[in-house]
Protein backbone atom coordinates (compact mmCIF):
# COMPACT_ATOMS: atom_id res chain seq x y z
CA UNK A 1 0.00 0.00 0.00
CA UNK A 2 2.61 2.55 1.10
CA UNK A 3 6.29 2.11 0.50
CA UNK A 4 9.19 4.44 1.26
CA UNK A 5 12.43 3.71 -0.57
CA UNK A 6 15.61 5.35 0.66
CA UNK A 7 13.52 8.31 1.75
CA UNK A 8 15.37 11.40 2.97
CA UNK A 9 13.33 14.29 4.04
CA UNK A 10 13.66 17.54 5.94
CA UNK A 11 13.22 21.25 6.17
CA UNK A 12 15.19 23.99 4.46
CA UNK A 13 17.61 21.39 3.06
CA UNK A 14 18.42 19.96 6.50
CA UNK A 15 17.60 16.26 6.43
CA UNK A 16 15.58 14.96 9.37
CA UNK A 17 14.94 11.53 7.90
CA UNK A 18 17.89 9.67 6.47
CA UNK A 19 17.38 6.92 3.91
CA UNK A 20 14.29 5.39 5.44
CA UNK A 21 12.91 2.17 3.95
CA UNK A 22 9.45 1.20 5.10
CA UNK A 23 6.69 -0.87 3.62
CA UNK A 24 3.13 -0.93 4.89
CA UNK A 25 1.13 -3.80 3.46
CA UNK A 26 -2.61 -3.29 2.94
CA UNK A 27 -4.56 -3.88 6.14
CA UNK A 28 -1.69 -3.44 8.54
CA UNK A 29 -2.12 -1.53 11.82
CA UNK A 30 1.31 -0.12 12.58
CA UNK A 31 2.49 2.17 15.35
CA UNK A 32 5.30 4.64 14.71
CA UNK A 33 7.27 5.12 17.92
CA UNK A 34 10.43 6.79 19.05
CA UNK A 35 11.76 9.57 21.24
CA UNK A 36 11.18 13.28 20.62
CA UNK A 37 12.77 14.56 17.46
CA UNK A 38 13.21 11.09 15.99
CA UNK A 39 11.42 12.17 12.80
CA UNK A 40 7.98 10.64 13.31
CA UNK A 41 6.07 13.73 12.17
CA UNK A 42 8.41 14.26 9.25
CA UNK A 43 7.95 10.68 8.09
CA UNK A 44 4.17 10.90 8.33
CA UNK A 45 4.04 14.20 6.44
CA UNK A 46 6.31 12.76 3.78
CA UNK A 47 4.20 9.62 3.43
CA UNK A 48 1.08 11.78 3.23
CA UNK A 49 2.66 13.92 0.53
CA UNK A 50 2.73 17.17 2.47
CA UNK A 51 6.51 17.27 2.48
CA UNK A 52 8.59 16.69 -0.65
CA UNK A 53 11.32 14.08 -0.55
CA UNK A 54 14.89 15.34 -0.63
CA UNK A 55 16.01 11.96 -1.86
CA UNK A 56 14.41 8.58 -2.44
CA UNK A 57 10.71 8.09 -3.15
CA UNK A 58 7.33 7.20 -1.73
CA UNK A 59 5.10 4.77 -3.58
CA UNK A 60 1.35 4.52 -3.14
CA UNK A 61 -0.23 1.38 -4.57
CA UNK A 62 2.94 0.88 -6.54
CA UNK A 63 2.85 4.34 -8.11
CA UNK A 64 5.48 6.99 -7.50
CA UNK A 65 3.79 9.63 -5.35
CA UNK A 66 5.73 12.45 -6.97
CA UNK A 67 3.87 11.69 -10.19
CA UNK A 68 0.43 11.70 -8.63
CA UNK A 69 -1.58 14.87 -8.52
CA UNK A 70 -2.37 16.29 -5.10
CA UNK A 71 -5.95 15.11 -5.50
CA UNK A 72 -5.07 11.58 -6.55
CA UNK A 73 -2.71 11.33 -3.63
CA UNK A 74 -5.27 12.65 -1.15
CA UNK A 75 -7.81 10.11 -2.36
CA UNK A 76 -5.37 7.31 -1.46
CA UNK A 77 -4.03 8.53 1.88
CA UNK A 78 -5.67 10.55 4.61
CA UNK A 79 -3.81 12.07 7.48
CA UNK A 80 -4.55 13.56 10.88
CA UNK A 81 -1.84 16.14 11.51
CA UNK A 82 -0.43 16.73 14.95
CA UNK A 83 -0.92 20.47 15.08
CA UNK A 84 -3.85 21.58 13.00
CA UNK A 85 -5.06 25.10 12.91
CA UNK A 86 -8.84 25.27 13.03
CA UNK A 87 -10.03 28.54 11.50
CA UNK A 88 -13.03 30.41 12.86
CA UNK A 89 -16.35 30.45 11.09
CA UNK A 90 -16.73 26.82 10.08
CA UNK A 91 -19.06 24.31 11.68
CA UNK A 92 -17.73 20.87 12.52
CA UNK A 93 -19.80 19.40 9.71
CA UNK A 94 -18.30 21.82 7.20
CA UNK A 95 -14.79 21.11 8.44
CA UNK A 96 -15.33 17.36 8.17
CA UNK A 97 -16.84 17.65 4.71
CA UNK A 98 -13.69 19.43 3.53
CA UNK A 99 -12.14 15.97 3.72
CA UNK A 100 -14.05 15.29 0.53
CA UNK A 101 -12.27 18.08 -1.34
CA UNK A 102 -10.12 15.63 -3.30
CA UNK A 103 -13.23 13.69 -4.36
CA UNK A 104 -15.07 16.65 -5.90
CA UNK A 105 -14.47 17.60 -9.49
CA UNK A 106 -13.37 21.07 -10.51
CA UNK A 107 -16.74 22.31 -11.67
CA UNK A 108 -19.13 20.77 -9.19
CA UNK A 109 -19.46 21.51 -5.52
CA UNK A 110 -19.97 19.09 -2.66
CA UNK A 111 -22.81 16.73 -3.53
CA UNK A 112 -25.14 14.48 -1.54
CA UNK A 113 -22.59 11.66 -1.51
CA UNK A 114 -20.14 14.01 0.15
CA UNK A 115 -22.73 14.94 2.77
CA UNK A 116 -23.34 11.24 3.37
CA UNK A 117 -19.63 10.55 3.77
CA UNK A 118 -19.34 13.40 6.25
CA UNK A 119 -22.34 12.13 8.19
CA UNK A 120 -20.90 8.60 8.36
CA UNK A 121 -17.47 9.88 9.44
CA UNK A 122 -19.04 12.06 12.13
CA UNK A 123 -20.99 9.08 13.40
CA UNK A 124 -17.95 6.77 13.45
CA UNK A 125 -15.79 9.30 15.26
CA UNK A 126 -18.59 9.95 17.78
CA UNK A 127 -18.79 13.59 16.74
CA UNK A 128 -22.44 13.87 15.76
CA UNK A 129 -23.24 15.86 18.87
CA UNK A 130 -20.60 18.39 17.79
CA UNK A 131 -21.68 18.55 14.14
CA UNK A 132 -23.32 21.98 14.18
CA UNK A 133 -20.94 23.59 16.66
CA UNK A 134 -18.28 26.09 15.63
CA UNK A 135 -15.14 24.02 15.13
CA UNK A 136 -12.85 26.77 16.36
CA UNK A 137 -14.66 26.95 19.68
CA UNK A 138 -14.18 23.28 20.58
CA UNK A 139 -11.73 22.04 23.18
CA UNK A 140 -8.45 20.49 22.04
CA UNK A 141 -9.70 16.95 22.54
CA UNK A 142 -12.93 17.63 20.69
CA UNK A 143 -10.96 19.11 17.82
CA UNK A 144 -8.85 15.95 17.64
CA UNK A 145 -11.97 13.84 17.29
CA UNK A 146 -13.20 16.15 14.55
CA UNK A 147 -9.90 15.91 12.67
CA UNK A 148 -10.10 12.13 12.93
CA UNK A 149 -13.60 12.31 11.50
CA UNK A 150 -12.29 14.45 8.65
CA UNK A 151 -9.60 11.91 7.85
CA UNK A 152 -12.23 9.14 7.80
CA UNK A 153 -14.35 11.30 5.54
CA UNK A 154 -11.40 11.79 3.22
CA UNK A 155 -10.80 8.08 2.81
CA UNK A 156 -10.36 4.93 4.84
CA UNK A 157 -7.90 2.92 2.78
CA UNK A 158 -4.83 4.38 4.43
CA UNK A 159 -4.93 6.47 7.58
CA UNK A 160 -1.84 8.25 8.88
CA UNK A 161 -2.18 9.70 12.37
CA UNK A 162 0.27 11.95 14.13
CA UNK A 163 -0.33 11.97 17.88
CA UNK A 164 -3.99 12.04 16.95
CA UNK A 165 -5.20 11.05 20.40
CA UNK A 166 -2.79 12.99 22.60
CA UNK A 167 -5.43 15.38 23.94
CA UNK A 168 -8.16 12.78 24.45
CA UNK A 169 -9.19 11.52 27.84
CA UNK A 170 -8.72 7.80 28.52
CA UNK A 171 -12.19 6.72 27.47
CA UNK A 172 -12.03 8.72 24.26
CA UNK A 173 -8.56 7.40 23.56
CA UNK A 174 -9.72 3.81 23.77
CA UNK A 175 -12.75 4.73 21.68
CA UNK A 176 -10.49 6.22 19.01
CA UNK A 177 -8.16 3.22 18.93
CA UNK A 178 -11.17 0.88 18.80
CA UNK A 179 -12.29 2.84 15.77
CA UNK A 180 -8.84 2.49 14.16
CA UNK A 181 -8.86 -1.21 14.95
CA UNK A 182 -12.21 -1.53 13.19
CA UNK A 183 -10.80 0.20 10.11
CA UNK A 184 -7.87 -2.21 10.25
CA UNK A 185 -10.18 -5.20 10.54
CA UNK A 186 -12.06 -4.02 7.47
CA UNK A 187 -8.86 -3.89 5.49
CA UNK A 188 -7.71 -0.35 6.06
CA UNK A 189 -4.04 0.41 6.51
CA UNK A 190 -3.28 2.44 9.63
CA UNK A 191 -0.01 4.06 10.66
CA UNK A 192 -0.24 5.85 14.00
CA UNK A 193 2.60 7.87 15.45
CA UNK A 194 2.26 7.81 19.23
CA UNK A 195 4.07 8.41 22.45
CA UNK A 196 1.90 6.00 24.33
CA UNK A 197 3.88 2.76 24.02
CA UNK A 198 1.29 0.67 25.83
CA UNK A 199 -1.61 1.78 23.70
CA UNK A 200 0.48 0.96 20.63
CA UNK A 201 1.38 -2.46 21.97
CA UNK A 202 -2.23 -3.10 22.90
CA UNK A 203 -3.67 -2.44 19.45
CA UNK A 204 -0.96 -2.63 16.80
CA UNK A 205 0.35 -5.80 15.24
CA UNK A 206 3.57 -4.19 14.12
CA UNK A 207 5.78 -1.50 15.61
CA UNK A 208 8.28 0.77 13.89
CA UNK A 209 10.77 2.62 16.07
CA UNK A 210 12.51 5.67 14.70
CA UNK A 211 15.62 7.10 16.22
CA UNK A 212 17.64 10.05 14.92
CA UNK A 213 15.94 9.96 11.54
CA UNK A 214 16.45 6.26 10.87
CA UNK A 215 14.36 3.15 11.36
CA UNK A 216 15.85 1.61 14.49
CA UNK A 217 13.49 -1.33 14.89
CA UNK A 218 10.70 -2.72 12.77
CA UNK A 219 8.77 -5.91 13.43
CA UNK A 220 5.79 -7.68 15.00
CA UNK A 221 4.86 -6.27 18.38
CA UNK A 222 5.55 -9.42 20.30
CA UNK A 223 9.04 -9.71 18.82
CA UNK A 224 10.39 -6.27 19.38
CA UNK A 225 8.52 -4.93 22.39
CA UNK A 226 11.25 -6.12 24.74
CA UNK A 227 12.94 -4.49 27.70
CA UNK A 228 16.29 -4.46 25.94
CA UNK A 229 14.97 -2.78 22.82
CA UNK A 230 13.01 -0.14 24.72
CA UNK A 231 15.96 0.70 26.96
CA UNK A 232 18.08 1.08 23.88
CA UNK A 233 15.66 3.39 22.14
CA UNK A 234 14.58 5.56 25.03
CA UNK A 235 17.79 5.40 27.05
CA UNK A 236 16.03 4.86 30.34
CA UNK A 237 15.16 1.83 32.44
CA UNK A 238 11.93 0.23 31.24
CA UNK A 239 10.31 -3.01 32.40
CA UNK A 240 7.87 -5.02 30.33
CA UNK A 241 5.00 -7.09 31.77
CA UNK A 242 1.96 -8.74 30.14
CA UNK A 243 -1.36 -6.94 30.05
CA UNK A 244 -3.68 -8.46 32.66
CA UNK A 245 -6.56 -8.93 30.18
CA UNK A 246 -5.09 -9.40 26.70
CA UNK A 247 -1.60 -10.50 27.59
CA UNK A 248 -0.08 -7.91 25.28
CA UNK A 249 3.32 -6.61 26.46
CA UNK A 250 3.12 -3.40 28.42
CA UNK A 251 5.98 -1.07 29.36
CA UNK A 252 6.50 0.30 32.85
CA UNK A 253 8.83 3.13 33.80
CA UNK A 254 11.17 2.83 36.72
CA UNK A 255 11.45 5.96 38.90
CA UNK A 256 14.89 7.53 39.22
CA UNK A 257 16.28 5.91 36.09
CA UNK A 258 16.01 8.96 33.83
CA UNK A 259 19.07 9.32 31.63
CA UNK A 260 17.55 11.73 29.14
CA UNK A 261 19.69 14.58 30.47
CA UNK A 262 22.75 12.95 28.98
CA UNK A 263 21.21 12.96 25.50
Amino acid sequence: MIRARGLSCGYAGRAVLRRVDLHLAPGEFVALLGPNGAGKTTLLLALAGALPALDGAVELDGRDMARLSARERARLVSCVPQRAEVPAGFTVRELVRMGRYAHTNFFGGYGPQDDDAAQAALADAHCLDLAERQAAELSGGEQQRVLLARALCQGRRALLLDEATSALDLARRVEAFDLLARQHQRGGTVLAAAHDLNLAALYCTRLVFLKAGRVALDGPTTDIFTEANLRDIYETDIRVAPHPVTGAPQAHLVPGAGAGASL
Binding site: L45, A88, F90, Y101, L122, L128, A131, R182
Partner: protein
Protein backbone atom coordinates in the same frame (compact mmCIF):
# COMPACT_ATOMS: atom_id res chain seq x y z
CA UNK B 1 -12.36 -2.57 2.35
CA UNK B 2 -15.19 -0.15 2.81
CA UNK B 3 -15.03 3.38 1.55
CA UNK B 4 -17.79 4.53 3.82
CA UNK B 5 -19.06 3.50 7.20
CA UNK B 6 -22.22 2.04 5.75
CA UNK B 7 -21.32 -1.63 5.53
CA UNK B 8 -19.76 -2.44 8.83
CA UNK B 9 -18.88 -5.99 9.49
CA UNK B 10 -17.17 -5.67 12.81
CA UNK B 11 -19.06 -7.02 15.79
CA UNK B 12 -20.55 -4.38 17.97
CA UNK B 13 -20.91 -1.90 15.18
CA UNK B 14 -24.63 -2.59 15.08
CA UNK B 15 -24.90 -1.10 18.50
CA UNK B 16 -22.70 1.80 17.45
CA UNK B 17 -24.97 2.38 14.55
CA UNK B 18 -28.07 2.32 16.69
CA UNK B 19 -26.52 4.89 18.97
CA UNK B 20 -25.63 7.01 16.01
CA UNK B 21 -28.98 7.13 14.36
CA UNK B 22 -30.75 9.07 17.06
CA UNK B 23 -28.47 12.09 16.90
CA UNK B 24 -28.19 11.59 13.17
CA UNK B 25 -31.86 12.24 12.69
CA UNK B 26 -31.65 15.14 15.02
CA UNK B 27 -28.75 16.44 13.01
CA UNK B 28 -30.53 15.89 9.74
CA UNK B 29 -32.72 18.83 10.56
CA UNK B 30 -30.02 20.91 12.12
CA UNK B 31 -27.81 21.39 9.07
CA UNK B 32 -30.80 23.11 7.52
CA UNK B 33 -30.28 25.97 9.91
CA UNK B 34 -27.28 27.36 8.07
CA UNK B 35 -28.52 26.78 4.53
CA UNK B 36 -31.91 28.08 5.60
CA UNK B 37 -30.37 31.14 7.08
CA UNK B 38 -28.13 31.80 4.10
CA UNK B 39 -31.02 31.25 1.74
CA UNK B 40 -33.13 33.72 3.69
CA UNK B 41 -30.35 36.28 3.79
CA UNK B 42 -29.56 35.70 0.14
CA UNK B 43 -33.12 36.25 -1.01
CA UNK B 44 -33.49 39.26 1.28
CA UNK B 45 -30.36 40.80 -0.19
CA UNK B 46 -31.53 40.03 -3.71
CA UNK B 47 -34.93 41.59 -3.06
CA UNK B 48 -33.24 44.65 -1.55
CA UNK B 49 -31.02 44.90 -4.60
CA UNK B 50 -33.97 44.82 -6.99
CA UNK B 51 -35.84 47.43 -4.98
CA UNK B 52 -32.66 49.47 -4.76
CA UNK B 53 -32.24 49.60 -8.51
CA UNK B 54 -35.64 51.26 -8.83
CA UNK B 55 -35.40 53.44 -5.73
CA UNK B 56 -31.88 54.66 -6.44
CA UNK B 57 -33.01 55.77 -9.90
CA UNK B 58 -35.53 58.09 -8.29
CA UNK B 59 -33.04 60.14 -6.26
CA UNK B 60 -31.18 63.13 -7.63
CA UNK B 61 -31.16 66.87 -8.19
CA UNK B 62 -33.15 66.69 -11.43
CA UNK B 63 -36.82 66.83 -10.46
CA UNK B 64 -38.57 63.53 -11.11
CA UNK B 65 -41.63 61.79 -9.73
CA UNK B 66 -41.82 58.12 -8.80
CA UNK B 67 -44.20 57.51 -11.69
CA UNK B 68 -41.92 59.12 -14.24
CA UNK B 69 -38.98 57.16 -12.92
CA UNK B 70 -40.82 53.87 -13.31
CA UNK B 71 -42.04 54.82 -16.76
CA UNK B 72 -38.58 55.78 -17.90
CA UNK B 73 -37.12 52.52 -16.60
CA UNK B 74 -39.87 50.44 -18.19
CA UNK B 75 -39.47 52.25 -21.49
CA UNK B 76 -35.72 51.70 -21.31
CA UNK B 77 -36.47 47.99 -21.06
CA UNK B 78 -38.36 48.33 -24.33
CA UNK B 79 -41.82 48.07 -22.81
CA UNK B 80 -44.50 50.33 -24.17
CA UNK B 81 -45.91 51.81 -21.04
CA UNK B 82 -47.66 55.12 -20.70
CA UNK B 83 -46.70 58.28 -22.53
CA UNK B 84 -43.17 58.86 -23.68
CA UNK B 85 -41.05 60.44 -20.96
CA UNK B 86 -39.34 63.74 -21.56
CA UNK B 87 -36.03 62.85 -23.28
CA UNK B 88 -33.94 64.83 -20.81
CA UNK B 89 -35.57 63.03 -17.91
CA UNK B 90 -35.06 59.71 -19.66
CA UNK B 91 -31.36 60.53 -20.02
CA UNK B 92 -31.15 61.45 -16.35
CA UNK B 93 -32.91 58.34 -15.12
CA UNK B 94 -31.49 55.77 -17.50
CA UNK B 95 -28.16 57.05 -18.80
CA UNK B 96 -27.04 58.71 -15.60
CA UNK B 97 -28.77 57.20 -12.60
CA UNK B 98 -29.34 53.65 -13.82
CA UNK B 99 -25.85 53.53 -15.31
CA UNK B 100 -24.37 54.61 -11.99
CA UNK B 101 -26.47 52.09 -10.12
CA UNK B 102 -25.10 49.43 -12.44
CA UNK B 103 -21.52 50.67 -12.12
CA UNK B 104 -21.71 51.02 -8.36
CA UNK B 105 -23.30 47.59 -8.11
CA UNK B 106 -20.62 45.94 -10.25
CA UNK B 107 -17.83 47.75 -8.46
CA UNK B 108 -19.20 47.06 -4.98
CA UNK B 109 -19.69 43.38 -5.76
CA UNK B 110 -16.20 43.13 -7.26
CA UNK B 111 -14.53 44.83 -4.33
CA UNK B 112 -16.39 42.72 -1.78
CA UNK B 113 -15.62 39.45 -3.56
CA UNK B 114 -11.99 40.48 -4.06
CA UNK B 115 -11.75 41.36 -0.38
CA UNK B 116 -13.23 38.03 0.67
CA UNK B 117 -10.83 36.20 -1.63
CA UNK B 118 -7.78 38.11 -0.43
CA UNK B 119 -8.73 37.50 3.18
CA UNK B 120 -9.27 33.82 2.49
CA UNK B 121 -6.08 33.25 0.52
CA UNK B 122 -3.84 35.14 2.90
CA UNK B 123 -5.78 34.05 6.00
CA UNK B 124 -5.63 37.60 7.24
CA UNK B 125 -8.76 39.54 8.16
CA UNK B 126 -7.07 42.80 7.21
CA UNK B 127 -6.20 41.71 3.70
CA UNK B 128 -8.02 43.72 1.07
CA UNK B 129 -7.20 45.11 -2.35
CA UNK B 130 -6.61 48.40 -0.54
CA UNK B 131 -4.24 47.15 2.16
CA UNK B 132 -2.41 44.83 -0.23
CA UNK B 133 -1.46 47.67 -2.54
CA UNK B 134 -3.42 46.18 -5.43
CA UNK B 135 -5.77 49.16 -5.60
CA UNK B 136 -2.80 51.50 -5.32
CA UNK B 137 -1.11 49.68 -8.18
CA UNK B 138 -4.20 49.97 -10.33
CA UNK B 139 -4.55 53.65 -9.46
CA UNK B 140 -0.94 54.26 -10.32
CA UNK B 141 -1.22 52.39 -13.60
CA UNK B 142 -4.33 54.28 -14.61
CA UNK B 143 -3.13 57.72 -13.55
CA UNK B 144 0.11 57.11 -15.39
CA UNK B 145 -1.92 56.24 -18.47
CA UNK B 146 -4.04 59.38 -18.15
CA UNK B 147 -1.22 61.78 -17.35
CA UNK B 148 1.14 60.42 -19.95
CA UNK B 149 -1.60 60.78 -22.51
CA UNK B 150 -1.63 57.11 -23.54
CA UNK B 151 -5.28 57.00 -22.66
CA UNK B 152 -5.87 60.61 -23.63
CA UNK B 153 -9.25 61.93 -24.47
CA UNK B 154 -10.70 58.56 -25.34
CA UNK B 155 -10.11 57.37 -21.78
CA UNK B 156 -12.45 59.96 -20.43
CA UNK B 157 -15.12 58.86 -22.84
CA UNK B 158 -14.68 55.29 -21.72
CA UNK B 159 -13.65 54.25 -25.19
CA UNK B 160 -10.07 53.39 -24.47
CA UNK B 161 -9.38 49.73 -23.83
CA UNK B 162 -5.97 50.86 -22.71
CA UNK B 163 -7.12 52.41 -19.43
CA UNK B 164 -8.45 49.28 -17.74
CA UNK B 165 -5.52 47.40 -19.22
CA UNK B 166 -3.12 49.84 -17.56
CA UNK B 167 -5.03 49.64 -14.28
CA UNK B 168 -4.96 45.84 -14.40
CA UNK B 169 -1.28 45.83 -15.29
CA UNK B 170 -0.67 48.11 -12.33
CA UNK B 171 -2.74 45.89 -10.04
CA UNK B 172 -0.93 42.72 -11.09
CA UNK B 173 2.47 44.37 -10.89
CA UNK B 174 1.72 45.52 -7.37
CA UNK B 175 0.55 42.02 -6.47
CA UNK B 176 3.71 40.54 -7.97
CA UNK B 177 5.83 42.95 -5.98
CA UNK B 178 4.00 42.11 -2.77
CA UNK B 179 4.37 38.38 -3.34
CA UNK B 180 8.03 38.69 -4.25
CA UNK B 181 8.68 40.75 -1.13
CA UNK B 182 6.75 38.28 1.01
CA UNK B 183 8.59 35.32 -0.54
CA UNK B 184 11.89 36.93 0.25
CA UNK B 185 10.85 37.09 3.88
CA UNK B 186 9.59 33.53 4.28
CA UNK B 187 11.05 30.03 4.09
CA UNK B 188 10.31 27.52 1.32
CA UNK B 189 7.65 25.61 3.24
CA UNK B 190 6.08 28.57 4.93
CA UNK B 191 4.42 29.45 1.65
CA UNK B 192 2.97 32.86 2.21
CA UNK B 193 3.15 33.94 5.79
CA UNK B 194 0.18 36.07 6.53
CA UNK B 195 1.98 38.79 8.45
CA UNK B 196 4.70 39.05 5.84
CA UNK B 197 2.25 39.48 3.01
CA UNK B 198 0.31 42.26 4.67
CA UNK B 199 3.53 44.00 5.70
CA UNK B 200 4.76 43.72 2.13
CA UNK B 201 1.41 45.10 0.99
CA UNK B 202 1.81 48.11 3.25
CA UNK B 203 5.33 48.70 1.95
CA UNK B 204 4.21 48.47 -1.65
CA UNK B 205 1.14 50.66 -1.21
CA UNK B 206 3.18 53.31 0.60
CA UNK B 207 5.68 53.24 -2.22
CA UNK B 208 2.93 53.55 -4.81
CA UNK B 209 1.31 56.39 -2.89
CA UNK B 210 4.65 58.17 -3.07
CA UNK B 211 4.81 57.55 -6.82
CA UNK B 212 1.32 58.97 -7.25
CA UNK B 213 2.37 62.01 -5.22
CA UNK B 214 5.30 62.34 -7.57
CA UNK B 215 2.97 62.32 -10.56
CA UNK B 216 0.84 64.95 -8.85
CA UNK B 217 3.75 67.25 -8.10
CA UNK B 218 4.99 66.92 -11.67
CA UNK B 219 1.73 68.31 -12.95
CA UNK B 220 0.35 70.87 -10.55
CA UNK B 221 -2.60 71.83 -12.70
CA UNK B 222 -4.10 68.36 -12.62
CA UNK B 223 -3.71 67.83 -8.88
CA UNK B 224 -7.40 68.44 -8.34
CA UNK B 225 -8.45 65.86 -10.89
CA UNK B 226 -6.00 63.22 -9.65
CA UNK B 227 -7.07 63.76 -6.06
CA UNK B 228 -10.68 63.50 -7.06
CA UNK B 229 -10.06 60.43 -9.17
CA UNK B 230 -8.03 58.60 -6.54
CA UNK B 231 -10.75 59.31 -3.97
CA UNK B 232 -13.08 57.20 -6.07
CA UNK B 233 -16.17 58.47 -7.81
CA UNK B 234 -18.75 57.46 -10.37
CA UNK B 235 -19.28 61.01 -11.55
CA UNK B 236 -19.27 61.31 -15.31
CA UNK B 237 -19.20 57.54 -15.74
CA UNK B 238 -21.80 55.67 -17.71
CA UNK B 239 -22.71 52.42 -19.42
CA UNK B 240 -19.60 52.65 -21.59
CA UNK B 241 -17.41 52.28 -18.52
CA UNK B 242 -19.38 49.28 -17.37
CA UNK B 243 -18.90 47.80 -20.83
CA UNK B 244 -15.16 48.30 -20.47
CA UNK B 245 -14.81 46.61 -17.13
CA UNK B 246 -17.34 43.80 -17.01
CA UNK B 247 -15.33 41.23 -18.98
CA UNK B 248 -12.47 41.51 -16.49
CA UNK B 249 -14.88 41.45 -13.58
CA UNK B 250 -16.63 38.37 -14.97
CA UNK B 251 -13.32 36.59 -15.49
CA UNK B 252 -12.11 37.51 -12.01
CA UNK B 253 -15.39 36.52 -10.37
CA UNK B 254 -15.40 33.24 -12.30
CA UNK B 255 -11.91 32.40 -11.10
CA UNK B 256 -12.79 33.17 -7.50
CA UNK B 257 -16.26 31.56 -7.38
CA UNK B 258 -15.03 28.39 -9.01
CA UNK B 259 -12.43 28.07 -6.34
CA UNK B 260 -14.71 28.78 -3.39
CA UNK B 261 -14.07 25.29 -1.99
CA UNK B 262 -10.35 25.82 -2.33
CA UNK B 263 -10.69 29.01 -0.29
CA UNK B 264 -12.26 26.94 2.47
CA UNK B 265 -9.42 24.45 2.35
CA UNK B 266 -6.78 27.19 2.20
CA UNK B 267 -8.22 28.62 5.39
CA UNK B 268 -6.82 25.53 7.15
CA UNK B 269 -3.27 26.50 6.31
CA UNK B 270 -0.61 25.14 4.02
CA UNK B 271 -0.07 21.69 5.57
CA UNK B 272 -3.71 20.76 6.00
CA UNK B 273 -4.52 22.04 2.53
CA UNK B 274 -1.86 19.75 1.05
CA UNK B 275 -3.04 16.82 3.14
CA UNK B 276 -6.56 17.33 1.81
CA UNK B 277 -5.28 17.22 -1.75
CA UNK B 278 -5.04 20.88 -2.69
CA UNK B 279 -2.09 22.21 -4.61
CA UNK B 280 -2.04 25.25 -2.36
CA UNK B 281 0.55 27.27 -4.24
CA UNK B 282 -1.18 27.08 -7.59
CA UNK B 283 -4.62 27.58 -6.08
CA UNK B 284 -3.45 30.71 -4.28
CA UNK B 285 -1.93 32.17 -7.40
CA UNK B 286 -5.12 31.71 -9.39
CA UNK B 287 -7.24 33.14 -6.61
CA UNK B 288 -4.96 36.13 -6.16
CA UNK B 289 -4.99 36.66 -9.90
CA UNK B 290 -8.78 36.56 -9.98
CA UNK B 291 -9.13 38.91 -7.03
CA UNK B 292 -6.64 41.31 -8.58
CA UNK B 293 -8.59 41.30 -11.84
CA UNK B 294 -11.70 42.21 -9.87
CA UNK B 295 -10.09 45.04 -7.95
CA UNK B 296 -8.10 46.30 -10.94
CA UNK B 297 -11.24 46.50 -13.05
CA UNK B 298 -13.09 48.23 -10.22
CA UNK B 299 -10.34 50.81 -9.84
CA UNK B 300 -10.23 51.36 -13.59
CA UNK B 301 -13.79 52.62 -13.64
CA UNK B 302 -14.16 54.28 -10.27
CA UNK B 303 -10.81 55.10 -8.73
CA UNK B 304 -9.86 53.78 -5.33
CA UNK B 305 -12.77 52.98 -3.04
CA UNK B 306 -11.82 51.61 0.35
CA UNK B 307 -13.58 49.70 3.11
CA UNK B 308 -16.09 47.84 0.94
CA UNK B 309 -13.75 44.87 0.56
CA UNK B 310 -12.95 44.95 4.25
CA UNK B 311 -16.30 45.53 5.93
CA UNK B 312 -18.66 43.52 3.75
CA UNK B 313 -17.00 40.07 4.00
CA UNK B 314 -16.58 40.58 7.75
CA UNK B 315 -20.23 41.31 8.23
CA UNK B 316 -21.29 38.33 6.13
CA UNK B 317 -18.87 36.08 8.01
CA UNK B 318 -20.55 37.10 11.25
CA UNK B 319 -23.96 36.24 9.83
CA UNK B 320 -23.24 33.15 7.74
CA UNK B 321 -19.88 31.80 8.86
CA UNK B 322 -16.69 31.47 6.87
CA UNK B 323 -17.78 28.93 4.23
CA UNK B 324 -16.98 30.62 0.94
CA UNK B 325 -19.74 29.01 -1.06
CA UNK B 326 -22.11 31.26 0.90
CA UNK B 327 -19.71 34.03 1.79
CA UNK B 328 -18.80 34.99 -1.77
CA UNK B 329 -22.27 35.44 -3.28
CA UNK B 330 -23.65 37.10 -0.15
CA UNK B 331 -20.65 39.46 -0.07
CA UNK B 332 -21.22 40.31 -3.72
CA UNK B 333 -24.84 41.22 -3.05
CA UNK B 334 -24.13 43.23 0.08
CA UNK B 335 -21.15 44.96 -1.53
CA UNK B 336 -23.33 45.99 -4.45
CA UNK B 337 -26.03 47.29 -2.13
CA UNK B 338 -23.57 49.20 0.03
CA UNK B 339 -21.87 50.92 -2.85
CA UNK B 340 -25.09 51.76 -4.70
CA UNK B 341 -26.47 53.56 -1.66
CA UNK B 342 -23.12 55.18 -0.92
CA UNK B 343 -23.17 56.54 -4.44
CA UNK B 344 -26.74 57.75 -4.06
CA UNK B 345 -25.63 59.59 -0.92
CA UNK B 346 -22.54 60.90 -2.70
CA UNK B 347 -24.59 62.46 -5.47
CA UNK B 348 -27.48 63.79 -3.43
CA UNK B 349 -26.16 64.90 -0.03
CA UNK B 350 -24.58 68.19 -1.06
CA UNK B 351 -26.84 71.06 -2.13
CA UNK B 352 -26.59 72.66 -5.54
CA UNK B 353 -25.87 69.48 -7.46
CA UNK B 354 -22.31 69.16 -6.20
CA UNK B 355 -20.98 65.66 -5.55
CA UNK B 356 -18.91 63.98 -2.90
CA UNK B 357 -16.41 61.34 -3.93
CA UNK B 358 -18.07 58.02 -3.13
CA UNK B 359 -14.81 56.82 -1.56
CA UNK B 360 -15.33 59.45 1.12
CA UNK B 361 -18.83 58.14 1.81
CA UNK B 362 -17.68 54.51 2.10
CA UNK B 363 -14.82 55.58 4.37
CA UNK B 364 -17.21 57.58 6.54
CA UNK B 365 -19.59 54.64 6.81
CA UNK B 366 -16.96 51.91 6.82
CA UNK B 367 -14.48 53.31 9.31
CA UNK B 368 -16.76 53.49 12.35
CA UNK B 369 -18.55 50.34 11.29
CA UNK B 370 -15.30 48.44 11.12
CA UNK B 371 -14.38 49.64 14.60
CA UNK B 372 -17.74 48.35 15.79
CA UNK B 373 -17.06 44.95 14.22
CA UNK B 374 -13.65 44.80 15.85
CA UNK B 375 -15.05 45.72 19.23
CA UNK B 376 -17.81 43.15 18.89
CA UNK B 377 -15.35 40.51 17.86
CA UNK B 378 -12.99 41.03 20.76
CA UNK B 379 -15.80 41.23 23.29
CA UNK B 380 -18.17 38.65 21.91
CA UNK B 381 -15.83 36.14 20.34
CA UNK B 382 -16.99 33.44 22.72
CA UNK B 383 -20.48 34.74 23.09
CA UNK B 384 -21.51 33.15 19.84
CA UNK B 385 -20.92 29.71 21.24
CA UNK B 386 -24.01 30.02 23.36
CA UNK B 387 -26.19 30.48 20.33
CA UNK B 388 -24.84 27.44 18.48
Amino acid sequence: MAERGGDMDAPGSEAGRAVCTAPAQNAAQRPCKRPGRSLALGSALLACLLATVVLACGVGSYPSTAGQTLLALLQALGLRAGDAVDPSLAVVIVDIRLARVLLAGLTGASLAVAGAAFQGVLRNPLADSFTLGVSGGAAFGASLAILSGIAGEAALAGEARVLPACALAGALTALGLVLALARAGGGPLSGLRRETVVLAGIVVSTFLAALISLLKSLDEESVASIVFWIMGSFQGRGFEHAALAWPYMLLGAGLVFWRARELDVLALGETQARLLGLDAGRSRLWLLFGASLLSGAAVAISGVIGFVGLVVPHLIRLLLGAGHARLLPASALLGALLLIWSDVAARSVLPGGAELPVGVVTALIGGPFFCLLLARKSLGGKGREGGA
